[in-house]
């Protein structure tokens, strides 16, 4: 989906809200403002919020809006430089040395002494640490995109502190140092999104380098618009009812309150079932779409009728 030909979506916040809407992301003003600032200040943006409020989706939609490639890096415990930045293709290096073994033997055969052989060997050794043997990982790929890209560093809170510290250079200067090749600087700084579920507190150094955006669970009107956009073919009356029901669920003390993605999934399920209206038995049958814990389901089941009638 190309950029709307009419105007640059990053001209103003309102244009940005509209632009994001055109690629299917209904953003509140606060979200759009944060994104606007990120582009204009060239700073990474740290998105927090509970699971399923659309953190990752924001990055995906922005990439669509900008019509730029999205490079995604999923963080997990034990993620390190070699998986995030670059790695040498050790297998290929070894394979090549094996294949070239005979050539090397003959090339070195006429060297008068050991020292001369070593000098020749040094010349060959450098071949093996050059671009063809370099395996770029997401961060380096992002820095090497000359036309810019959207870099999504997903669930940064799952990675280790050491990795967080490593990211600082990338995030503040958009460059990395590779010992064998030197410093790689991005020609066009990528637009960086970091997402966090707050599994652990992030370091101040990282937070300081980012703009912060917390996406809360949405207001009813916003949620209705999101459902209407995401689930085409759903009737307005049903949307209103199901959003009201989900909103009332969020007021109950649950282990995992349903977030936007659950609402959207539920709406899709209801459309699949050709539901026209929301009644107690239908809710009971499809409750497992919005609630993901057995205890939550058993807690909510007896209250369904009451929740439905609540206005």
């Amino acid at each position: 989906m190309p950029v709307g030909a009419a105007a640059d979506p990053f001209q103003s916040v309102d244009a940005l809200v509209e632009g994001l809407g055109s690629v299917g992301y209904i953003a509140s003003r606060r979200i759009a403002t944060a994104l606007y600032m990120a582009v204009h200040l060239q700073k990474p943006i740290l998105v927090e919020g509970s699971a399923g409020v659309g953190k990752t989706e924001l990055a995906l939609s922005t990439a669509r809006l900008l019509a730029k490639p999205l490079i995604r890096m999923q963080c997990y415990e034990g993620l390190d430089e070699s998986k995030a930045l670059y790695e040498w293709k050790y297998g290929k290096q070894l394979l090549y040395t094996q294949i070239l073994k005979d050539r090397m033997g003959s090339a070195l055969a006429d060297a008068p002494d050991m020292d001369a052989a070593m000098v020749r060997l040094h010349g060959m050794g450098d071949m093996f640490f050059s671009e063809p043997f370099l395996e770029p990982r997401p961060l380096m790929q992002a820095l090497r995109q000359d036309d810019g890209c959207v870099l999504l560093i997903d669930e940064i809170d799952k990675s280790d502190e050491a990795f967080e510290a490593f990211l600082l250079e990338v995030l503040s200067a958009y460059q990395v140092s590779v010992p064998e090749l030197g410093v790689i600087v991005a020609k066009t700084p990528p637009l960086v999104f970091l997402t966090s579920n707050n599994v652990r507190d992030l370091g101040d150094a990282l937070k300081r380098r980012c703009l912060h955006l917390h996406i809360p669970l949405p207001e009813p009107e916003l949620e209705e618009r999101i459902v209407a956009t995401r689930v085409p073919g759903i009737e307005d009356a049903l949307t209103g009812k199901l959003v009201a029901f989900v909103q009332s669920l969020r007021t109950i003390d649950l282990r995992k309150a349903p977030s936007i993605s659950e609402t959207v999934d539920w709406a899709r399920a209801l459309v699949l079932l050709h539901a026209k209206d929301l009644d107690a038995s239908l809710v009971r049958d499809t409750l497992n779409v919005i609630l993901k814990f057995e205890q939550d389901i058993t807690a909510v089941e007896p209250q369904i009728v009451e929740l439905l009638s609540r206005k």
Binding site: M37, I45, S82, A162, R208
Partner: protein
């Protein structure tokens, strides 16, 4: 505007939102990018650059609303028809022409007054307010800076004229002066709220962290909630640092054995390279907590800390005892913090201490839990009521565990006095320390996690 922005950052810092110089620069750039015209936009833009967590966003919103709340002055409206020409009318009252403040008051020029008050506040240093007792003095200084004395002069002069116009002018100025004073008071009040209220709460928290847990009367019930929040934060901080299991691939070291083994499938050509891995274990901790009468005041907080730690450290086994020893993990898991503590205390709390019996119970039922990866932490005063301390069992625990740590709420000078067998137990511990404030507790637990828990 630059000055206002700086004042706002100062207010934010007072509200415990950390704003570093780099962030201040970002804020200025953000303000320049969006402009000041759209209030909501301006607020969101600043929020994105300055507030870095959910709490901070809430505090930011609050501070922003208070800081930029500028109610227009509520002045008595200028009497109809004379708003324009009034100053000219009262020629008899000398000074009105020279005093811009009097003109503004009589003319009902509220924006002008608001601006004058801002400027005067800058000169009077209202934002330097730290204590509630400074309020009246600062209000007075603010009014002086605005030129209140001129107004008083004019009122006095006008009264002396003894004419109808003079009296009326005096009356009107007097009403306006009162309104102005009320306004100044509100202004200083708001400044106090912005710059000083937060520091009060922080001061209180600092005091709490330093207060001895077993002090007479224990902790004020009012402070209890604050204390519990403090403990929770501490435990979270510690857990963030230590509860994660890390595999660090040691990329510098080739695992020759594994690589050769794997290459056998490819006729000895090493396609896959294996690296040596370093495994980092999660801390495995056993805590045994004394909840008997002698440590009654401290017990509650030791348990609070235990509770918080239990929430964040996965492999923690907690036991509590006074006469007998019971595992309390299930109680801690099933109840909220107050409920859990009450339940533990009502089940076994406040009985006669018997360290020997408690150790016996532990060794008999739970010694399997202690292995060479385990750190055992005792929280107690080591007062065994002259019963057999069972040093042999203590020795057994020490031999099995990686480390034994004893935290005693009593100062070291009390150890070994009366029925305390602390010194005898101390021989079987790696560390024995006094610990009777929250601050100490955090420091010691951190030391424990760093030094004695396998990395």
């Amino acid at each position: 505007m630059q000055h206002t922005l700086e004042q706002f950052l100062k207010a934010l810092r007072a509200a415990d939102v950390r704003v570093s110089p780099a962030e201040a620069i970002d804020a200025a750039r953000a303000a320049a990018a969006v402009g000041y015209a759209d209030r909501a936009l301006f607020k969101d833009a600043l929020c994105a650059t300055l507030a870095k967590s959910r709490d901070e966003v809430d505090r930011f919103d609050e501070t922003f609303e208070t800081f930029f709340a500028r109610n227009s002055f509520s002045l008595p409206p200028p009497e109809a028809g004379e708003a324009e020409g009034d100053p000219g009318d009262s020629e008899g009252a000398p000074g009105v022409d020279q005093s811009p403040l009097a003109q503004m008051l009589l003319g009902g020029d509220t924006p002008g007054l608001a601006q004058a008050m801002e400027e005067a506040a800058g000169r009077a240093g209202v934002s330097e307010i730290r204590l509630s007792t400074q309020r009246s003095r600062l209000t007075r200084r603010l009014l002086d800076e605005m030129g209140l004395s001129e107004i008083e002069q004019i009122i006095a002069n006008a009264k002396r004229l003894q004419t109808f116009d003079g009296n009326r002018l005096a009356l009107r100025l007097d009403v306006a002066r009162k309104a102005l004073m009320a306004e100044a008071q509100a202004y200083v009040e708001r400044a106090h709220e912005l710059y000083a209220a937060g520091s009060g709460a922080r001061l209180r928290e600092e005091m709490l962290a330093k207060k001895a847990l077993n002090a007479d009367g224990g902790i004020d019930p009012i402070d209890l909630a604050m204390m519990q929040a403090l403990v929770k934060r501490m435990a979270k901080r510690l857990a963030d640092r230590y509860s994660r299991r890390r595999h660090t691939a040691n990329t510098g070291h080739l695992d020759v054995r594994k690589t050769l083994r794997k290459s056998m499938a490819h006729d000895g050509i090493p396609f896959d390279i294996e690296w040596k891995l370093k495994k980092v274990d999660k801390p495995s901790i056993v805590v045994i907590c004394d909840v008997s009468k002698s440590v009654a005041a401290a017990a509650q907080f030791l348990l609070t800390f235990l509770y918080a730690l239990n929430e964040v450290v996965d492999r923690l086994d907690a036991f509590a005892f006074s006469g007998r020893l019971i595992p309390v993990n299930a109680i801690l898991d099933a109840n909220g913090v107050e409920g859990a503590i009450l339940k533990v205390l009502s089940t076994i709390g406040f009985q006669q201490t018997d360290y020997g019996k408690a150790l016996e119970d532990f060794v008999e039922n739970h010694i399997d839990r202690v292995d060479r990866h385990t750190t055992v932490i005792f929280l107690g005063d080591g007062r065994s009521n002259f019963a057999d301390p069972r040093l042999d069992l203590m020795h057994l625990i020490q031999q099995r565990a990686r480390a034994v740590i004893w935290l005693n709420p009593e100062p070291e000078s009390y150890w070994g006095q009366g029925d305390s067998v602390m010194y005898r137990y101390q021989r079987f511990t790696h560390v024995a320390k006094t610990c009777n404030t929250l601050g100490q507790l955090e420091r010691i637990i951190e030391d424990v996690l760093r030094t004695y828990v396998p990395h």
